[in-house]
Amino acid sequence: MATAEVRKELFGHAEQTNYLTHSRGFWSWALTLDHKRIGIMYLIGVCAALIIAGVFALWLRTHLFFANGAMAGEQWGILQVNNARYNQLFTLHGAIMVFSFIIPSVPAALGNFVLPMMLGAKDVAFPRLNLASFYLWIIGTGLLCAALASTGLDTGWTFYTPYSIRTTTSVLFATFGAFVLGFSSIFTGINFLVTVNTMRPKGMGWFDMPLFLWALYSTAIIQILATPVLGITLLMLIAERLMGIGIFDPKLGGDPVLFQHFFWFYSHPAVYIMILPAMGVISELISVYSHKKIFGYTFIAFSSVAIALLGFIVWGHHMFTSGQSQVMSLIFSAITFSVAIPSAVKVFNWLATLYKGSILLLTPMCYALSFIFLFGIGGLTGLFLGALSTDIHLHDTYFVVAHFHYVMVGGTLTALLGGLFHWWPKMFGRMYNDFLGRIGCFLVFMGFNLTFFPQFIMGSRGMPRRYATYDPEFEVFHQWSTVGAFVLGIGIVLSFVVLVYAALYGRKVSGNPFGAASLEWQSSSPPSFHNFDHKPIMHDPYDFDALVYDETLDSFVLREFTDPKQVPERHPVSH
């Protein structure tokens, strides 16, 4: 009898005592040190950033509907777009998306919630640092928005010198904002790295960790090693602008290409900060919804680390046309191709996991499959850009725009949505409408392809990026692209509506509705304040045979728990 009660506590729906109801009021959230609440706050923040930057994207795509600028006319009022406004739109779209949305999205929002629970821990190693990281995110994003509200920003998100030294727009706000966001990212990285290192429970070796943790660990390494360089680069840019130190300013004898080296030394690894956690999410989803042990665990784990390390020595491939020496271009091109291998290895392993699985096409799995599709295109088009001679032609054209959107949006955004749908029942204890979820996924997938596939063709035909007006030859592609952008926008909004509705009014779910085997599912939904009321039982995170479906609970439970003698000891903290 007692066993049934314990099982319900373990795997049931937590009615009253969970982290959401633990305490009430504004300050109980604003000053919380609970990683789950910080994760939720991060999630709300990054989604707001996504919406702001997404509106900019739709705005500029509408302008590009006609070759001479669809929104150039007076009748558009405050929405009217001229060249200067257009430059601000793409700059702020890029800056907010990169610094405020994509980089913190999966690690800081999903990772914060999931990482300690996957370790069976009560919190991250440094809860206060975690909260500080969130407030730095708020300050940094606020500064970016302050730039937007004052004179805007028109340097492109890359802040290339000397334009960023001379332009009259508020570069100082924006660079300082990016600087602060960098520290937010560093703090998250330090926290995760230390947590994984010192707080793994007894019995969980490195190779017993879920792959999402490997991905977050690799990401943390990049955040720690690359972000400080961005910090000092932006500080030097600020000093250059304020005082004229002459390091980057050619008028004072400086070298603008040096800035590009510094900038890409961070910003290329930053690409992997964006995509590695996404890959980690996909590894979890594919395995759970195929109900099969992930194929080639070690290879996937090491490929994350390989990508993280190789990612540091390929930054020069952004600069093949910049005037860097030809030998350097050659070396960077060669190393760039070597990064392709670990990425491909992951895709092959995911495919092999599907083989002979038991595949359930729930919304998260639909996102995972569309990730493979979109990341496949994004990765393969990287080959065109890694090869030196074709890159000369394609560099700074729409081909590049399409390529990195396939990786950043088709990869990271898709994985974020997939991960949200996967962990949403755990976060809020309620289930979403799966049919509408899949419709949303379909719209995102179709809209995305419609937006960005035509851009590959435009790019190889020679359409340069960052153009407010363009040759009429490209008009038809731009029109497809604009239509697609709106479909994509509708898909994302629909997904958010489905999720928010579910969190408020959805059907209550048990602790482990999807039959996932990693530790975070050995808690009630939503989890209690201390995550686990009973010490979680350590076992292989991909051993799905250890689970059995319990009809009374409508949940998967560990096989051991069906034996009354195996009732786990109560957790010491739950008094």
Binding site: I232, M236, I245, I247, G253, V573
Partner: protein, 359 residues
């Protein structure tokens, strides 16, 4: 939760496990986490400075002459003094960590105080060095107005500065420390009268710390007075014009030969661009020394900010030592701040020869 914890920690600090945060299982786990965290943080600090080191190296590689001409403006004796001060402070904090491990809170407090005084003294000497250079127009590249041969004795215009016989800049830099000193003395007296001995001791210690700044500043000032603008200053006035002229000739020769290497991809053109069209090559050459000082100010300025941040962290340790928080099983924060302090010291150990001891 943890907020409540900090509120309690002064009152009942003798029970085992009190300083273990709720999410750690053992004191060892907490200590290891903190230690790993601070080490990783130090890695990010090193990388943060590395950008400046790379800029320094590239410029030195492409324009060694700038460095040869510029470093004579730096006084290596003051630099050496600061190096010794920092090394000594590293010794005291290391000793402090050992004392904390033994649970000797009184020793930790004294040693931390000495470390803070050294740190403030370093800042004081730096203030003398900076103000002296600013008086001479030795600034960053765009504002570099120094011309050799002129008499650059510190010019005081503000009445206060005149009466003290110091430069305006040194006076301005000393405003904040003066306010802090007065504030701490006042706070110490007030809290002593209110019989809050812990706070009174803390504020007195902070006042002594700020005294370190004035020790450095006054000492550095008299050194400058005694040597007529510092040993480096004399050198600068004596030597600087010669190599510059020599170098300008070389440049002119290169110009005669045309820009043979035009179109190359190497970054050898870094400063080959004509800059302000109005100024003569001679003047441009002089101003290029400003690039060295751009890097100098970035590096030493960032380092000074770290020193000031270090003083704040040490003050926290000092306070907790006075409150008697350290025990053989709980001394992590002293260790972490100590590590940070060693890193700040180490960076200076690199900066000193790189900037002051160029030959």
């Amino acid at each position: 939760m943890a907020v409540a914890e900090t509120a309690h920690e002064h009152h009942e600090h003798h029970e085992h496990g009190e300083f273990i945060a709720h999410h750690f299982d053992t004191p060892e786990q907490q200590f290891d986490s903190g230690k790993l965290g601070i080490w990783v943080f130090l890695v990010t600090e090193v990388l943060f400075f590395s950008g400046l080191f790379v800029a320094y190296t590239l410029w030195r590689f492409h324009h060694p002459e700038i460095y040869e001409q510029a470093h004579v403006h730096l006084d290596k004796y003051l630099g050496a003094l600061n190096t010794i001060v920092l090394l000594f402070s590293s010794l005291t904090i290391a000793w402090g960590v050992r004392s904390a491990q033994l649970g000797n809170n009184r020793n930790v407090a004294i040693l931390t105080l000495i470390t803070m005084v050294c740190a403030a003294m370093f800042i004081g000497v730096k203030a003398v060095e900076y103000s002296h250079k600013w008086d001479q127009g030795i600034l960053v590249r765009s504002a570099f107005t120094y011309t050799p041969g002129h008499d650059h004795h510190a010019s005081a215009t503000m009445p206060m500065a005149v009466s003290l016989g110091i430069s305006d800049w040194l006076l301005k830099l000393s405003i904040v420390p003066t306010i802090l000193l007065l504030g701490f003395v006042l706070a110490s007296v007030v809290t002593a009268l209110m019989q809050k001995s812990l706070a009174a001791k803390f504020f007195a210690g902070m006042a002594i710390t700020i005294g370190g700044y004035f020790l450095g500043a006054v000492g550095g000032h008299f050194y400058m007075e005694a040597t007529g603008g510092g040993a480096g200053g004399k050198h600068a006035q004596f030597q600087s014009s010669a190599p510059i002229v020599l170098h300008a000739d070389e440049k002119a020769k290169q110009a005669d030969g045309g820009h043979a290497d035009q179109g190359h991809d190497s970054p050898s053109h870094m400063s080959a661009a004509p800059l302000e069209g109005q100024i003569s090559p001679q003047e441009k050459q002089d101003r290029d020394i400003g690039i060295f000082f751009s890097i100098y100010y970035c590096m030493t300025g960032l380092h000074a900010i770290h020193i000031i941040g270090g003083i704040a962290a040490l003050a926290w340790i000092f306070y907790r030592s006075l409150a008697g928080h350290w025990r053989p099983d709980y001394f992590g924060p002293v260790d972490y701040v100590g590590l940070y302090w060693h890193l700040v010291d180490l960076i200076w150990i690199y900066l000193f020869p790189m900037l002051y001891l160029i030959d």
